[in-house]
């Protein structure tokens, strides 16, 4: 082998940077959908590289369910200050207060599905024409069909059976007024790739990803963190465990795993030995076989 080839992480990086630059060139008002999770942190890191030495030309948009890990919010605010970027917050609580959505009832109630309305409202009111997400095709079967540039109609809906073909490196972001796009620069990355890259680049991530002691309850096979939003059932018991999170979302639905991995090296090693998919600890995906596809059609991340 000669020296003029890229290793797979460099090639994924180059592809992602190419897509971010296309977004900048083809859209008027793009934002990065920022959840505080590793994938959106990675996308932000790649955007920094894509436009260096300029500041990133995207605002960060956070859809806030109101049920956050405090660590996530702190991390978000520090990052924003560091980047000199603008933050847009879409608040699910506000959507509830304004009667745009109704809070779910029952013990498994979450604000997961409510985010769709808040997200679409925020996109519309801020005149966003492209929302850049950290979605990856390896996460879920509906996401395996996603394009780099994914069209949304003026209701924010995705039509998986009628997507624009995407050939070579040519990305068609043309749209009519009121429609928008979702762009997924890290489509081709797997969970392992993300961790290997975070480790290589030494990217700062929230402490929640590292093993730490926390109060948790066992629910559907995952350790759900204790918080003011948690409704305990009779048989459930709060325990203190050394855990870490593989994905970060709303605090009410994100389950942790028992782990001793407290460094990036140990996490990468642990992930490579994992026998469960990372969304296996997300109760939002367990609701039905097609839970993700159904939400995505309506306009979910």
């Amino acid at each position: 082998m000669n020296k003029y080839y890229l290793n797979y992480l460099d090639e994924l990086e180059s592809e992602a940077i190419y897509i971010l630059r296309e977004v900048h060139a083809q859209f008027q008002n793009p934002v990065i959908l920022f959840s505080g999770g590793k994938d959106s942190i990675l996308v932000t890191h790649l955007a920094k590289k894509a436009f260096y030495p300029a500041n990133i030309p995207f605002a960060l948009m956070h859809v806030d369910t109101g049920h956050n890990f405090p660590e996530t919010i702190q991390f978000r605010d520090d990052l924003i200050e560091n980047l000199g970027a603008r933050l847009i917050v879409g608040s699910v609580q506000e959507s509830i207060d304004q009667g745009r959505v109704q809070e779910e009832k029952g013990k498994n109630a979450t604000r997961n599905a409510l985010q769709i309305t808040t997200l679409l409202d925020a996109i519309e009111s801020n005149k966003v024409d492209c929302a850049i997400g950290g979605g990856r095709r390896d996460e879920e079967k509906a996401r395996a069909k996603e394009r780099f540039f994914s069209h949304r109609d003026d209701f924010g809906q995705w039509d998986p059976k009628n997507q624009r073909p995407e050939l070579w490196n040519l990305l068609n972001g043309k749209h009519f007024e009121g429609e928008h796009f979702r762009a997924f620069p890290i489509s081709n990355w797997t969970e392992m790739d993300v961790w290997n890259y975070i480790k290589r680049e030494n990217i700062e991530i929230p402490s929640l990803y590292f093993a730490h002691e926390r109060e948790v309850v066992l629910r559907n096979g995952s350790w759900i963190p204790n918080s003011e939003y948690l409704q305990l059932e009779d048989h459930e018991e709060i325990l203190t465990k050394k855990i870490r999170f593989r994905t970060l979302g709303d605090i009410t639905i994100t389950g942790g795993i028992e782990s001793d991995a407290d460094t990036l090296e140990k996490i990468a090693l642990e992930v490579s030995a994992m026998r469960q998919t990372e969304r296996g600890n997300r109760t939002d995906d367990k609701r039905s076989e097609t839970a993700m596809e159904d939400r995505k059609r309506e306009g979910y991340f």
């Binding site: 082998m1 000669n2 003029y4 080839y5 890229l6 290793n7 797979y8 992480l9 460099d10 090639e11 994924l12 990086e13 180059s14 592809e15 940077i17 190419y18 630059r21 900048h24 060139a25 590289k49 894509a50 436009f51 260096y52 030495p53 300029a54 500041n55 095709r137 079967k141 509906a142 395996a144 069909k145 998986p160 059976k161 997507q163 624009r164 073909p165 995407e166 050939l167 070579w168 490196n169 040519l170 068609n172 043309k174 749209h175 009519f176 489509s187 081709n188 797997t190 392992m192 790739d193 290997n196 490579s272 994992m274 026998r275 469960q276 998919t277 296996g280 076989e289 097609t290 596809e293």
Partner: protein
């Protein structure tokens, strides 16, 4: 794992459900230990519900609701697996004739194509169609998997016979590298592990081929082509005069100090610096994403191309293209479409249809200029301004284009410059 050296290989699988395509992908994922326990559990449950013994490997590639209900693949699905040697991206495309457009999409970025043949049926129309598309899209490596060898008693004659059938028709096509492997995706013979039933086969199993085939030369490193995606102007302290031309190298190697010409203007200058992210580098090569600064202040914007002064592309306004029509709405004569080529956008029209190709017989049809979904034709395209182009067979990036219907914004055609 030596992650610092591992390369990325993209391949497409063409074939229908009946050829065992889904089973083959399932087998690759399963035997390379890329299936997670929760996925395995869910597939085992479904297999049991359907009354099957063991695990139905094909279910690992199930996708959208409609696809599960109808038992077919509608759209390209991407799958991933990693071995200690390489990371793989599979573009899993449907094989039916009405899905030619998906096959073309999956093939456009692939290093390799796997073509599946059912050992009981030999070469059929679909095989010819898939092979034609693989050659049209210039996929550098083709692997013909002769599947279901277990159903023909693992006989060498069957394999030999299919191989010669294939070579007979494929000799009419431009294919650089083709290899044949007798397999049984269902039983796992010659997929990841070597078969114990076919001692007469001297070659390697499929995964070994995928892990070891030479792909560093798949990208053109000779002709320097760099299309400007966007101009970086930081306008902040320390970088007041910085003007970086950002893009992804389509081909070739660029070094600081190289003389470059800016097209279409024709001005020449010298590369002052190259940035890959925050890092300043002395040289860069395709497919790196970089930002270049020049020693001279020249007006350069998106769509312009920086090329080596001694090696330039053609600049043409009218040229021939092998066009694949991708939309339900047929081509409209004399209509203006938006043409996207590298980072360039122009209006263009199809001036004439030179001939259409029957993708089953490879015959040229000269008395029919109607272009409908899945049709492939050689056409003459005229753009409103000159484009910097290379023949597709020499350069996949500067030789490819798409057409967009201005009334719907949909991508309606994919073209390869002849």
């Amino acid at each position: 794992m030596e992650i610092n050296k591992n390369q990325l290989l993209r391949f497409t699988t063409a074939g229908s459900v009946d050829d065992g395509k889904s089973t083959l992908i399932g087998r690759l994922l399963y035997d390379s230990k890329s299936i997670f326990e929760d996925q395995l559990e869910s597939v085992s449950n479904t297999s049991k519900k359907k009354g099957q013994e063991g695990v139905d490997l094909a279910l690992f590639t199930d996708g959208l609701k409609d696809e599960r209900e109808q038992g077919i693949t509608i759209d390209v699905a991407y799958r991933y697996f990693t071995t200690p040697k390489r990371k793989f991206i599979i573009a899993d495309t449907p094989g039916h004739i009405q899905y030619t457009r998906n096959m073309v999409t999956g093939a456009s970025t692939a290093n390799a194509a796997i073509i599946l043949i059912d050992a009981r049926n030999g070469v059929i129309e679909q095989t010819k169609r898939h092979t034609f598309i693989a050659s049209l899209l210039q996929i550098p490596h083709i692997i013909v998997c002769i599947n279901k060898m277990d159903l023909v008693d693992f006989k060498e004659e069957v394999y030999e016979d299919i191989m010669s059938q294939f070579e007979e028709f494929a000799s009419k096509l431009l294919i650089k590298d083709v290899r044949f492997i007798p397999i049984s995706a269902l039983l796992g013979d010659n997929v990841v592990n070597r078969s114990t039933h076919m001692d007469w086969y001297q070659g390697a199993p499929l995964l070994h081929e995928l892990e070891n085939m030479h792909i560093s030369s798949d990208i053109n490193k000779v002709d320097g082509r760099f299309a400007v995606q966007t101009v970086i102007r930081p306008q902040k302290e320390g970088f007041i005069d910085y003007r970086g031309y950002a893009g992804r190298l389509a081909s070739g190697i660029y070094r600081v100090g190289d003389e470059v010409s800016v097209l279409p203007s024709g001005f020449t200058s010298t590369i002052k610096s190259i940035n890959a992210g925050e890092e300043e580098v002395q040289e860069a090569f395709a497919p790196m994403s970089i930002a270049i600064t020049l020693t001279d202040d020249i007006d350069i914007s998106r769509g312009d191309m920086l090329v080596k002064t001694n090696n330039q592309p053609e600049t043409e306004q009218e040229f021939d293209v092998m066009l694949c029509w991708l939309n339900n709405e047929p081509a409209k004569p004399r209509t203006k479409y938006t043409l996207m080529h590298t980072a360039n956008e122009q209006r263009a029209m199809i001036k004439k249809v030179v001939y259409k190709i029957d993708i089953n017989t490879y015959d040229r049809i000269t008395d029919d200029d109607h272009l409908a979904m899945n049709d492939i034709a050689r056409v003459r395209v005229r753009a409103s301004r000159r484009l910097m182009i290379d023949p597709y067979r020499e350069n996949r990036n500067t030789g490819s284009l798409i057409l967009i219907d201005e009334s719907t914004n949909e991508t309606v055609a994919a073209g390869m410059i002849v």
